[in-house]
Point group: D2
Chain length 377, copies 4
């Protein structure tokens, strides 16, 4: 094998599988290609007797589906979920829960050009190099349709967490689109306000500006990135598993696995670099018999373990890679060429990323909650 | 259990274990408390017949040890490693490699006050709340001494990666201390320059400023945070395992598990929020028969898979939590009190964090390299 | 929690989930209840570009389906498989392969009595005690329909193994039904002969006796157990992962997870107890440049690793627990009662267990084959 | 790679690592070669605040150590254990517990011949074929010294289980040596009687016969196999995790991973083949408010889950492979030769296997106990 790395030496051969599993106790395995038969997930590790209905799952899928507003892709897919196993009469059985969403179009001609030409900043080239084969239509496994399985599983995780911690709340919102920033502090963000505007930001006036910016970018055939923030409220003290599976480490893993996510920070994040210890430390005090911190630069996590304050995080998202502009690229014969995007795409993924971010947070919280029960005495 | 969450409802009980394992094929399990018998690691999954000597491991441990320069903690610990198993006559056996470093001081009186008083922004309170017991001396398991196991295992991972990809290089450096920024671009950073100055930055002149700032903070009993950057050069195309174990996701997991790390970004990172798609996309072109990108906003990773460009990432570190200043806090009887740090501490952890960041990068690269061989045909 | 174990102290509470995953690199997660929507499996870890068709999977399912002959249950279920993902144009994509089989009858009245009365030597009581809920119709998750996912995944594993080791062969057969023993030595067993008789034994004359015995037991409302033997031919040297994942240990794990399996032995097995070392040791010799053993008491495995000889194993199966005879039992109100089986059942599970045993063997071999590639240099 | 399997095609190349980890929540990683620095184990997943002393571990190691009686190997190794981490003032910390036993002789000349000649029915040839390297002295990793880590970890598992289920008891005993069978039924076996005779059987008179047989075999330079039985008493209802991790499946995995074990059966085991369903089924009845079974052919497990009856199993052990007789074999140059054993060996491994069998049972029970707490509501 050494010879393969000699010379130009950049290829490992054409090979490999891809892991689509996440979690340690509450484990999910997602499956599906964007233009195959469908997409879905199997959840292995869900406790028995948790109240769960199809509607609870469909509600979250509706929040991520295309066509839900005039600033997201106009593709109109119902993304209707079917529960194949693991639930009886509205209660989980403790057995694996299989969830499936059929694709409407199993093959599309809108993507023919993609069969041989690599879209810049997409996964096409890397998939070909790694696997030697790819379901090119619509991005195949690398399509954002893959997140349907995450959102469906996240709805189940939410049901489990709520059965244990009824007051725990996860709220994500679009905090920034390009240069437009929503200034609402995390503790004042209202889930109802977020859900009331199509861009899913925390302030109605800012929403208007963001919507205008997204429409302008779309008209120009271009796209915008931004920041999604997420807060976990009423998180019990004690979640997180040092050393390697610190709460922030597993959250970072979860979030960076979302397509287009480029950065993650918890609490003070990168701003910590500019603070002195005397400014950054969160003094402890007592409030109503409970240990609290006066500030929350720790983002609700110390030593990898939740301390009972809100768990605050921020995620950077890059602008959509598919553009209606001509771009320089190469094809699978390794010839230089150009490509212009076709089809219907989001000019800004952030509004539809909000339910995905929440789903990943529920999955991480649920897994840590169950993990720590494993060794209680 | 539900009752526990009723009312104020913030405790999950006092219980639990902590996971100290990392990796899927190249798996490490670290162990040890800061003032126990010692610290160490068992590596399960190292291939046979990789050249490995004790010196290769000790060299990396010397880079993270206390007392190595006048800007780090003056505690003088040799941190001498012993190979207990898995190596014969300079070659790995394919069997588990156990590495051990004995602690010099198994119990210290310097930390007596810590037994009952929680240090702000440390793990003390959370450990007590989660486990109902903690090795309080020197931070116990939450001490930075825990990273010795990571650095030792990282040296073994490096040996494995080098046996497969001799030209692969991991270089980390201190890019920012408080407001002082090292402007050297990632591709121009020299490992030799980084190692030539005690602060481990990429420019000798900037190093002087950083050193001065750290000494000033230390004199004031205060501490500084900053940013560590890391680049992986000559990374083969094809590393990373979509969907959930994307290369950037496992790197983020690894890095956020390092004590004091608050943020992670890959490629354009949070700056991506301010770029349009037409600015952010990395055009493909051909160079010497190889697919390249003209820019590297992707940070060497597309669709979760390395594309052959440099894998660039940045990590935010908070300022050291231990201060020689009086701070407001509470004790384990939940009474409000104050605390002033004692003992010898780093006023800025970043110089010693550099080898830890590199170790985590080697561990992630090694694991992905072995994972993908598992399914080659 | 301790109080729960005080007094008689036999219950752990009513709780829990069940794990339905198997494998480390080639990982499968099965799902489904016998009278739910369907049953299936997701395979995460299948290499790309392996030739795979729906027919290859359906062929194995047909071998285990009910109604295939007059000595198995007359329920007539087609068990038609659908490939939902992971395959394109006859080749695997490296992405998860989701396979689904719809149930014909989603609820049956044939099992109404089972809702509250525990069938002796079935899983009913234990499921209720552990989970506090169960899909009682047809045994739910504990039904033998669960093995459909195993057989489907085993067909994929076979395709992967064959792509790497074209000559590797797995053959299982019914070696014993009650007191009727098939004397054909493992090395003389022909897969064609096994498949030519409905009882799947290795000798046509013995088959007639076994069939007669099964029919007689069925007429009496009773059932029979027996032994399934399995041999892996042309197994490459080097499969198996000491210490804990020895080849025989993972095979034993796989086989004892099959419903009704009560025992496993490899090579000499329990007969080893009566041999002296001088009789049991397998002398090495050279044959055509290859290291061979003159006898094969080791069953093709030494030190947990395959040695190139046939891997021979035997599995004990208990008689079917469902009887058309009145039996003493209790109900879920913990009252003593009696129960007589209804519905259509196999009076001897062994003929239909043969493809399940083979599937588990393929899954174990495939996983070990991929595992050991992970660390090749 | 396909070419490697062409032609005779029996080698996979020389490569690979070996996994030495076991368990899912209570995870152990053993390490060490027989003539290296030492052997040991890291336990990751032990709950906090479990009472644990060095003596509790040493006690079990003394039961397996060489030189403990005149029917085991006369090598006199103290096998003194050191707790390196995870325990403070007699309580576990919830952090990894590292346990180490130093070897007395790090290199021995007694084994020089083994460096190049493969001992029949040992791991030597397979290790060489798989890894291309082996620590040949004393068998290296394949030596029975590897079980020290298991026994030490088993002592910790026992402490954890006892903290949760104080009445749970694991007793193993030698039930058969060659043709001498101990007839004591499982429910009448006394741990005190077993420990009172050096052969660890359940009847003093039978012990005398077994001892005589072992001494006779040793005098002849030969060796004997046999059967170890094991019972788990007062096991709570509900342990075991269907589908793949049934309690009997994980027990089988654990037991078949012990060196020299060739078979495993639970409850009726292979005898089930000769019983009709009407004879084999265990009728349920009520006793003191508890569901019981009148017989226990199920071996305390139904549907993969413990039912509250004793969990009974039996393990076949082959006779020791090292003989003081000349045997036919080959060397690592693939030349035929002969070999006669040297050094001090057990003529029958069963007496020293008893504590190893018990340790594996404690590890499995502990892991299942913690697993099922993970998802309790």
């Amino acid at each position: 094998m050494l010879a393969i790395f000699g010379g130009i030496g950049y290829y490992l051969g054409q090979l490999k599988h891809m892991s689509s599993s996440f979690g340690t106790v509450f484990k999910i395995s997602t499956w599906g290609e964007s233009h195959g038969v469908g997409v879905g997930v199997v959840i292995d590790g869900c406790p028995a007797r948790v109240p769960l209905t199809r509607e609870m799952i469909q509600h979250e899928l509706d929040r991520r589906r295309p066509g839900q507003s005039d600033i997201v892709t106009p593709r109109n897919e119902a993304d209707s979920v079917e529960i194949l196993s693991g639930v009886l009469d509205g209660l989980t059985l403790g057995t694996p829960i299989a969830l499936s969403v059929r694709n409407k179009d199993q093959r599309s001609t809108a993507y023919d050009e993609m069969q041989h030409t690599y879209r810049p900043s997409h996964a096409d080239y890397c998939y070909d190099a790694k696997y030697g084969i790819r379901a090119w239509a619509g991005g195949g496994r690398a399509s954002a349709r893959e997140t349907i399985g995450r959102v469906a599983a996240g709805a189940v995780a939410k049901a489990v967490v709520r059965a244990i911690c009824p007051q725990l709340e996860v709220v994500a919102w679009v905090q920034q689109v390009h240069s437009i920033v929503c200034p609402t502090p995390a503790e004042q963000v209202s889930a109802a306000v977020v859900e009331s505007n199509p861009v899913r930001t925390a302030d109605a006036a800012v929403a208007e500006q963001m919507i205008a910016a997204i429409k302008a970018a779309r008209s120009a055939g271009d796209s915008l990135g931004g920041v999604v923030a997420c807060t976990v409220r009423n998180c019990p003290v004690g979640l997180g598993d040092p050393v390697f599976d610190k709460l922030e480490a597993t959250l970072a893993h979860a979030m960076l696995s979302i397509p287009a996510c480029k950065g993650f920070e918890v609490g003070s994040g990168f701003a910590a670099a500019l603070l002195r210890g005397s400014e950054h430390n969160d003094p402890f005090y007592m409030e109503a018999g409970r240990v609290r911190t006066r500030t929350n630069n720790s983002g609700g996590i110390q030593g990898g373990i939740s301390n009972g304050e809100a768990v605050n995080m921020r995620l950077a998202f890059k602008p959509t890679a598919t553009l209606m502009l001509e771009q320089e690229t190469v094809n699978d014969a390794h010839q230089e060429t150009t490509l212009r995007g076709k089809g219907r795409h989001d000019a800004c993924v952030l509004p539809r990323a909000v339910p995905v971010v929440e789903a990943m947070a529920w999955l991480v919280i649920c897994d840590h909650l169950l993990r720590q029960r494993a060794t209680s005495l």
